[in-house]
Amino acid sequence: MIMCKTSKEIGGMGHSLKRKEDARFIRGLGKYTDDVQLPGMLYMDIARSPFAYAKIKSIDKSVAMEIPGVLAVITGEDLKQYNLHWMPTLMSDTQMVLPTDTVMYQAQEVAAVIATDRYIAADAVQALENSIEYEQMKPLIDPHKALDADAPLLRPDKEGRTDNHIWHWQTGDQEATEQAFDEADVVVKEQVYIPRIHVASIETCGCVASYEKAEGKLTVWMTTQAPHAIRTVIALVAGHVGLSEERIRVISPDIGGGFGGKVPVYPGYVIAIAASFLIGKPVKWIEDRSENLQADSFARDYHMTVELASTKEGKMTGLRIKTLADHGYTDAAANPSKFPSGLFSIVTGSYDIPTAFTEMDAVYTNKPPGGVAYRCSFRVTEAVHAIERITDVLAQKLGRDPADLRFQNFIQKDQFPYRSALGWEYDSGDYAPALRKAMDMVGYEELRKEQAEKRVRGELMGIGISSFTEIVGAGPSKDFDILGIKMFDSAEVRIHPTGKAIARFGTKSQGQGHETTYAQILAEELGIPAMHIQIEEGDTDTAPYGLGTYASRSTPTAGAAAAKAAHKIRDKARKIAAYLLEVSEEDLEWEPGKFFVKGAPERSKTIQDIAFAAYTNHPQGMEAGLEATHYYDPPNLTFPFGSYICVMDIDPKTAEMKIRRFVAIDDCGNIINPMIVTGQIHGGLAMGIAPAMYEELIYDDDGNILNGTFMDYLLPTSVETPNWETGHTITPSPHHPLGAKGVAESPTVGAPPAVANAVVDALSHLGVTHVDIPVTPFKVWKILKEKGVIS
């Protein structure tokens, strides 16, 4: 039961306020990028490469240009004249906007058509694709072969580069860890591969770029989670052609799901902007689902060798991980610049492991670029999968119950703030109660009994646990920047004379409910009813600068900024109240919504009274108005955590699998809106079981994608998705002004290993120690066949 400090009418933290933004969505009145229609608007469509690696021999524009309604065909050569054919990635690598000589992955953008109508544009693309000649080359698809002597050099454009190695990164104490492994009683080791997946928000990516020549102003409606960063990138990349940051406006309208897939700058955006700039008319580009799946930023693709050392009693003594990261043909991952493998080093997880070492090598291949997306918290999905899998492997080796082993190794409550072996200071945590609560909810001991009985009868069921620690809220300016821009975030709050308010933020919701939750934060801190607070995000002309919404950072950064801005407002409000009540500031006390005189509570001024006075009756010498802006530099990240338990039944004859139950206990510190948090958990869990059982981008040896549509890239429906059983513990963050942590990616991080652990657990009596995700019926069938369970 969450105790709320404010009344339901005010609707501060802890209230399950219904969402304010629902009003437009339930009526079909949301405004998404493809809903934008401007007079004279043109349509852009993109011709793409059928080959994974090829030289472009010729592009004949004429056939496409002959189609009535086609205004232009844009190639790499055209963009080269403006030096726009390459652009920087968010990891300071470079990426082609359009190629001038070589294509690097199947479905890569090769040329664009601009037409008066989207149907004509599609015809023109078909004509154009038939008029492009290629010379195919043998692509590099297997990252393990990327550093072979005979591997093609994929990036000769990069000065001084002689191979396909992008970077090496490591952290931890290599020597101490080696010693721990040498001295260990028990060492377990597994190859853990997490394949490429695609975030596949129901809305694909796109933009409407509108350059007005007379004003020299560019307005771009864009499916972007980080509009300010995009604006600055456009100014830097296209400044030389005359686009200047004060005359660039990026608008993120309503966004139909982001999950990290709408952070990178895609070539389509840049081409559309260039086209609008050159033609002087609005240009709309909206990608098809096939284009989205086949060319946009993927997620995962980590090949990990994971080792865990322990005493024979089960105390973990060392963790060592070596990873090969397949980034596609350029490192376009959206990581903070000092962390090329994101926050992977959270990988010691919830356990008190004294020493650890992790290293990774990233390589180029002929696949789409990227790496960080799909609700991964900057590679935390990969890290948690590694530690939670290897923990179960250790439990199996030692013959220990996996819950038991976890309790034995958890960081204890009194160890927080906890400095991990890989350098993170975890702010707060209390892991054991969360696991215990999950076990109680699922009936763990009964399930183990059931499993034993079923095993005797040849029936298969598994129980999989995942006890994860997450790391969100990037981040403190000393360590966190993207392309040099520090990862603070911002809130600008203004109170109107009639006591209502408007607040704008540097983040951008894609369904997280900020219009409600930010209002609730301000309601909490100012006592103005949340219903009276208008929240805006996404328009770079009006919103304060921020780094956007992804990696569960909004509540930790912008939410904190809101609280801080509210405190600044309260400071001024106190002065006004003191003036109105003719007392000194020290004589006043605050309760949500009003200042009252200590000892004489009937003498009070509401925040509404004060707001009115700020414009009509403020003290001499004080500025009018009642507003504040705050740019919040978080002192640390926040560390939400949880324990999940998955119960899986497997048909021993057909290997079909069904999740019987999924219990999720989450701890995200103080909760702003329990209804919204639970909704986020449900959604994240669905995006957790999906990569665990259904999703994988599959390439053949020639780099052809084999499942580039929803026919074969499998998103779970309501039928595949189980009922979610959720609960909470609350361990506030000591450094966050509201004691809150981020939460929305916890389930995507925590769920896959719970599923994988359940499947392995179901098969462990056959000697199975590991299965890579996605765990499909075919994979399980192969195991059952190999073990003689299926003849």
């Binding site: 096939s290 998103l715 066949k785």
Partner: protein, 291 residues
């Protein structure tokens, strides 16, 4: 995403539709439910010059029992089979099958006729019609002809339909009493094509032995496949687990599935063996329940 151009025609009668097919040649296609054709056109895998929309021709969407047959008009939408209670009672195999096709929105428009006319061995109804020993009525310029289901599927995506002919009716012999059937499909998710699926329709004699059996297999070969040897092994026998296992093996022997994203051929053969047994068990239970 965007289909290529075509001309759209709406005939008012069947003879008019057939005449239009002849007039416009091979590149003219019938538009019924459209849920095989339109998706193919959107990806530009199909580029017909003319679409002849037969959905406005009255009297093609009936579902009725008549003259010893369940007669399904070519424009009968899948959903009708789900909605008619007497179909669920008397034709459980048919309703099982319908429910496994795509999703509710698709079933509101897709037609049973279309599911067969497309000639796709991965579609669900072909195996079911094989199990029912159905007949297909085809109407052309010179009138109607009946084609037994075993002669309807001739090759990969090819049926007995000549150009200028339209599949107009499906006839399922009304099963005798003591009949039961079952469709079982293993799919990666709802709406997918089958990794493997089986259709079983059988009837029991008075002594409880299997009098007649029909077994169709989905997505196990280039054509929808009848498991002839399995059917023969069942005929005249008392139901038993051993008999069903034997039938399962014979059905697997009649299959030559391909390796694909769903799994290997061997995996699919395992599924066939197992699904046949389960479908036979359920069909016998249903047959016994009705007597």
């Amino acid at each position: 995403m965007i289909p290529p151009t075509f001309d759209y025609l709406v005939p008012a009668t069947l003879p008019e539709a057939i005449a239009l097919l002849h007039e416009h040649g091979d590149e003219a296609k019938v538009l019924a439910g459209g849920h095989s054709l339109i998706p193919a056109m959107r990806l530009r895998f199909a580029e017909p010059s003319h679409l002849i929309d037969i959905s406005h021709i009255p009297g093609l969407d009936y579902v009725r029992e008549e003259g010893g047959f369940l007669k399904i008009g070519t424009m009968a939408r899948e959903v009708v089979l789900e909605d008619l209670p007497w179909i669920s009672e008397r034709y459980p195999l048919l309703v099982d099958t319908t429910k496994m096709i795509a999703d509710p929105q698709v079933r509101n428009l897709a037609t049973v006729g279309g599911n067969l006319a497309h000639g796709d061995p991965a579609n669900d109804h072909p195996a079911t019609m094989l199990a029912y020993r159905a007949e297909i009525e085809i109407t052309g310029a010179s009138g109607a002809r009946i084609v037994p289901i075993d002669e309807f599927f001739t090759d990969f995506f090819t049926t007995a339909l000549e150009h200028g002919e339209i599949l107009t009716e499906i006839r399922i012999p009304i099963p005798p009493s003591r009949s039961g059937g079952c469709y079982l499909k293993v799919e990666r998710k709802v709406g997918d094509y089958a990794a493997a699926a089986v259709a079983v329709q059988l009837s029991l004699a008075a002594d409880g032995s299997i009098e007649q059996a029909g077994i169709g297999l989905t997505n196990v070969a280039a054509l929808p496949t009848r498991a002839v040897d399995a059917e023969n092994a069942l005929r005249g026998q008392q139901p038993s687990d051993a008999l069903f296992a034997q039938a399962g093996q014979l059905a697997a022997d009649a299959s030559s599935p391909a390796d694909d994203l769903r799994g290997s051929a061997e995996y699919k053969l395992t599924l066939i063996r197992e699904l046949i047994q389960r479908a036979l068990r359920r069909s016998v239970e249903r047959a016994q329940g009705r007597s």
